[in-house]
Amino acid sequence: MEYSIRDLEAKANEIRQDIVKMLVTAGSGHSAGPLGMADVFTALYFGNVLNYDSKNPTLWNRDRFILSNGHICPVWYATLAHAGFFPHSELASLRKLGTRLQGHPHHCVLPGSENTSGPLGQGISQAVGMAYVGLKMKKEPWRVYCVVGDGELDEGQVWEAFMFAGKNKLRNLTVLVDRNNIQIDGFTEDVMPMEPLGAKWESFGWHVLEVDGHNIKQIIDACNEAKAISEKPTVIICHTIPGKGIDFMEYKYEWHGVPPNKEQAREALKELRTLGGKIRSEHE
């Protein structure tokens, strides 16, 4: 289905509302990262970037999507539900006993997933392993997309994986970095400075792109450019605002790992429904 950019922005807003509802129902989980990545996930799943069939999630030629920073899974779960991988009503089961929506994603139970993640740095290595098989061994047409967090880049393993992908010129691999500048203990540049970030990947033999992570058209265009790069893997540094869309959460690292309480959730949902007071909510 073709969506206009306006439709996609509305979809991202619905996904943000779902994230708030899931987190307040669960009573625990991460807020800032998922809200900040809603536009990237919308672009990937509804902007004709990923090739997938939610009714046949193991289709051989599907693109592989790997979430490496598993703690932002609420945005992924909401997106997968909107894409039809499982019933939307299941979102309410996040983090509850018996759920398929584990606190951190578990591949063996989650439809539409390729990997289990949570401990940082592990998803990217698996993504690189998949890309290696696809490109070098099976020579198949599908691509691999992997989302990593910027705090996750503190892990040595990610650089092992980036080095390996550069050496093997894995052109079928696109990595999207959630560059929201926060991690649990504070701002990334205070906890462990990582700039200049783009130059690091360039020196590892990667094609580097930077986008406004809330500009859905830019994200889609960058993903399409990556498909056309034929000699190296691509990283898209997505500059995002943690807690995007909810004024009292934006830019605040304190919201990395906590959910809103009921009152905060009401306020957040009102802000999302009214687009920050620009329109009247039908729920008022």
């Binding site: 592990q122 698996q126 392993g129 890309a131 290696y132 098989v133 994986a161």
Partner: protein, 323 residues
């Protein structure tokens, strides 16, 4: 009883490094199964992956000194239908990359075979940093994992071939030094089975790795004192053959476990878990006594730290006195 070589205690018994059997197994798998791939961390020759790498360059991947990435790459490749054998020294894999093995491989039940070479104190002069004495504990504790500790090179070859047929994670522990080659092509090997390598009535010795041969030697020497030991090869540490172990404990009434590993959490612990639940008998543990190793010649270290046949004999006498 199973078939072993005829002249078991010959002074000239053939010797081979256990890791060599892995290399031979990989060559057989290379021919038999095109999904088998090999990954290594800058230790291709010493982990005996070299022949496979030369024969099947398209199915061999050099990862560099990056064991965490090694485990993740293996998981990703298994997800795409390959059967990756990821190799390094046991201190690095599963030592350094245990979290990756736990989450990317075991929790996800990815079909990855983890080959830990140079395990045990018999690595010798390299010293404690390179002597994996904890690898059995940290692998057998993981759900979905199968753990093999082969007793010699021929058994390592069989374990390697068997691992490829198991759908799920497998850890195979290998040793560096040459040790007696005492099983034959005909000696049976099956995942989840322990084998009676010598029958006896006074004490069971449940051993794994090179200690199986030391146990046979100890049993032979003790026989001269009138003590008849039953020797079990516990090559399949997980799943463990509870039936064979319990049957033997019922027959002999006491057990000595023997391994080249920390006593805490190793084969002896696995044996005790089975017996304490089903048929509790006195048990003595031959293994590393909660201590790091050191540099020295393999036989000096095995003897100093009490993991040779003499130590096993002492443990047998002691456990019989506790019956």
């Amino acid at each position: 009883m199973v078939e072993l070589i005829p002249d078991l205690f010959s002074f000239n018994i053939a010797q081979a490094p256990i890791r060599q059997g892995f290399g031979e197994g990989m060559m057989i798998l290379g021919k038999e199964n095109s999904d088998v791939v090999g990954l290594c961390c800058d230790l291709t020759e010493s982990t005996k992956m070299g022949d496979f790498a030369k024969a099947y360059p398209d199915r061999f991947v050099e990862v560099g000194v990056a064991e965490q990435n090694l485990a993740g790459l293996g998981a990703g490749m298994a997800h795409e239908g390959k059967i990756p054998f990821i190799t390094s020294y046991a201190v690095f894999s599963p030592g350094r990359n245990w979290d990756q093995i736990r989450v990317s491989i075991c929790y996800s039940n990815n079909n990855v075979k983890i080959i830990g070479s140079h395990a045990g104190i018999s690595v010798g002069p390299d010293g404690a940093t390179h002597q994996a004495l904890e690898d059995i504990a940290i692998t057998r504790v993981l759900p979905n994992m199968t753990v093999f500790v082969p007793a010699d090179a021929v058994e390592a070859r069989k374990a390697t071939i068997a691992a490829a047929k198991i759908k799920g994670p497998v850890y195979i522990r290998l040793a560096r030094e040459k040790t007696p080659q005492f099983t034959t092509d005909e000696t049976p090997f099956e995942a989840g089975r322990a084998y009676v390598f010598r029958e006896g009535i006074h004490c069971t010795i449940a051993a794994a790795g090179p200690q199986v041969y030391y146990a046979l030697k100890a049993a032979n020497d003790l026989s001269k004192e009138g003590i008849e030991c039953e020797v079990l090869n516990m090559v399949s540490v997980k799943p463990m053959d509870e039936t064979t172990l319990i049957q033997s404990a019922k027959k002999t009434g006491c057990v000595v476990s023997a391994e080249e590993h920390q006593i805490t959490g190793g084969v002896g612990s696995a044996v005790a878990e089975v017996l304490s639940k089903n048929f509790p008998v006195p048990q003595e543990f031959v293994g590393m006594p909660d201590h790091f190793g050191e540099s020295g010649e393999p036989n000096e270290l095995i003897s100093k730290w009490g993991m040779d046949s003499k130590a096993i004999m002492g443990a047998v006498r002691k456990v019989i006195s506790r019956k």
